[in-house]
């Protein structure tokens, strides 16, 4: 009998430990492209929306993509309908996906963050909220996710607003992600997800100018996996709340590496672009990987500590 992958993330029941990385799978677009086959065979056990902001955003000017050795740089700039449009038009259709929904939000102040969290948490379609803190705070001017104190302060402000799980998405662009993680935990976070993309630039070989319209972007894909693994291990060891591990996960073997490094569940990002069914492949591959490595259950791997 094959190993069961059923698990949970701070109270959210999951059929398997494979989520999507925010912004790497537009389930609504995918449904119109692939039809109901997407619903019958939904690749993730919970769906994480791309990051929502209060006001609509157009996103960054082109170019937004650059391929790198075993990876890619993106500079998308969070295009989106804004909170209202999201709640009115997108959320109801996401509810049709048939999996728990985690909504990612970002704001440039605690107040607006609060607005977003309250408005999103109020909707029963929503199982959890992910906080994208890789953004500057208009008041302090500091990138929240780079500062343990800023992160703790933000969480202290948001925690009282909802009983639903709050997941802090950590930025990898810090010396010690474990310190930021401790801040998030102290502030009341229910879980942490990492890594977000790593600061990167690309130069147009022809014009010798910046290739990316926004001048800078974030690196993701296979290339970042060893860095993500190190941060997941450091963060998971530093906190007692669960972590969502991601960064270059491409198959069951790499997913297992993240779980062994301390992640409770994993998320697939860039690999979705290479294969729309990547989430399914990772889940099926994970069962084989667990068996090959002699694990009797997913929990055994989740509980094992790396030495």
């Amino acid at each position: 009998m094959a190993i069961s992958l059923a698990t949970d993330l701070c109270g959210i029941k999951l059929d398997d430990p494979v989520l999507n990385g925010s912004g790497t799978f537009d389930a609504l677009a995918a449904r119109s492209v692939f039809g109901d086959a997407l619903i019958r065979d939904f690749p993730f056990s919970a769906y994480v929306s791309k990051t929502i902001t209060r006001s609509p955003r157009a996103g960054n000017p082109p170019h937004r993509l650059w391929e790198t050795p075993s990876g890619m740089i993106n500079s998308i700039g969070l295009p989106g309908p804004g909170l209202e449009g999201f709640l009115e038009r997108d959320l109801p259709r996401m509810a049709e996906l048939g999996v728990p929904l985690i909504v990612s939000v970002m704001a440039d102040s605690r107040e607006v963050f609060g607005e977003l969290v309250e408005a999103v948490a109020a909707r029963e379609e929503v199982a959890g909220i992910e906080l994208n803190v890789s953004c500057p705070n208009v008041h302090s001017g500091l990138i929240v996710g780079e500062q343990p104190a800023e992160t703790e302060g933000l969480m202290k402000a948001l925690r009282p607003l909802t009983a639903k799980p709050l997941i802090v998405k950590l930025t990898p662009n810090v010396a010690n992600p474990d310190e930021v993680a401790r801040g998030a935990e102290a502030g009341g976070a229910d879980a942490l997800s990492l890594i977000n993309t790593i600061k990167a630039v690309a130069i147009d070989p022809v014009t010798t100018r910046n290739w990316l319209g926004a001048g800078q972007g974030g690196l993701s894909g296979h290339a970042v996996r060893p860095i993500a693994l190190a941060q997941v291990r450091a963060v998971s060891a530093a906190v007692s709340i669960p972590t969502v591990g991601m960064g270059g996960i491409a198959d069951g073997e790499s997913a297992l590496e993240f779980i062994l490094a301390g992640a409770r569940v994993v998320a697939v990002g860039t690999e979705n672009f290479r294969d729309p069914r990547a989430g399914i492949e990772v889940g099926e591959g994970l069962v084989r990987a667990l068996e090959r490595r002699g694990f009797g259950s997913l929990a055994e791997a989740q509980d094992s500590t790396l030495s």
Partner: protein, 284 residues
């Protein structure tokens, strides 16, 4: 025009049954057993298998490629031709595929062309403007129009012999005029010279233009048509990571100025009046 059906969810291996050089380009043929029939203007995301990779770690992402011809085999399977210009590691790897190899494809993706009458009730026929590798979607559209008895004229432009190919294979000589920047054949100069002459010639009221090619050509066509308020549909390109709306990487500025089209799902075919420029991201 034939409306797009949904693509099979995921990517599927297709057998390579032919690969040959045509001028400076390469045409290879895949047998797609599962996929629905694509419509002119649609594209696929391709990656050679196994080992979609090369020295230096690229290609990594699949590559967006328009189909250049659709035929049915005796056994009713779809034969898809693709026309390739080797400009980097991805197209080079695809061009390396040989008969018997396997190619992973996802799609068909995107919105195709409208029929002339859908763009202009007065439309007498269609003017197809293809530049370089951009002749591929034009070749498909041409067949489509012929099948429907809709008159067309095709204008094809190339930089030089090295950057041309598929002309005889994909286009009949009838109704086709060529322009080579180096004077290699046909008109010496830009294909847009031919378009201008043609629009001067006929009554623009009856004209409808379809174009695919390098950004500079598409931008010229867009402006020429706009100035004469001739309806035009452009098959655009942009870097694409996914092809199915997942990454938001394929941004093309809207005419309105507010925001961007997601080219893979809103395009790749867009009307001239839907975009502010065909040069987005080029040389900025």
């Amino acid at each position: 025009m034939a409306s797009e059906s949904t693509a099979p969810f995921g990517r599927r291996p297709c057998g390579v049954v032919d690969s040959r050089v045509t001028g400076g380009y390469r045409i290879f043929t895949l047998i797609d057993e599962e996929g629905p029939a694509p419509v002119p203007g649609q594209f696929y995301m391709l990656s050679a298998a196994p080992d979609w990779a090369g020295e230096g770690g690229r290609p990594f992402l699949p590559r967006a490629i328009s189909y250049a011809r659709l035929e049915r085999t005796a056994r009713g399977q779809q034969r898809l031709d693709f026309l390739i210009d080797e400009v980097g590691p991805g197209t080079a790897r695809l061009a390396q595929m040989e008969r018997g190899d396997s190619c992973l494809i996802a799609g068909p993706f995107g919105h195709g062309f409208s029929l002339p009458r859908e763009l202009n009730p007065e439309a007498a026929g269609a003017i197809l403007v293809g530049g370089g590798i951009g002749i591929a979607p034009m070749a498909v559209l041409r067949r489509h129009l012929i099948d429907r008895g809709i008159p067309y004229r095709a204008l094809l432009g190339f930089r030089d012999r090295a950057h041309s190919g598929g002309i005889d294979e994909l286009f009949g000589c009838e109704e086709t005029r060529l322009a080579f920047e180096d004077g290699n054949a046909g008109h010496k100069g830009y294909v847009t010279d031919l378009l201008l002459r043609m629009l001067e010639g006929d009554d623009p009221a009856g004209a409808v233009v379809y174009a695919c090619g390098p950004p500079a050509m598409l931008e010229a066509v867009r402006i020429i048509c706009a100035e004469r308020s001739v309806p035009v549909e452009l098959a655009l390109e942009s870097p694409m990571a996914c092809g199915y709306g997942a990454c938001y990487g394929c941004a093309v500025p809207k005419a309105s100025g507010d925001g961007y089209h997601r080219l893979c799902v809103d395009g790749p075919v867009l009307r001239g009046d839907e975009i502010s420029t065909a040069l987005a991201g080029v040389g900025i």
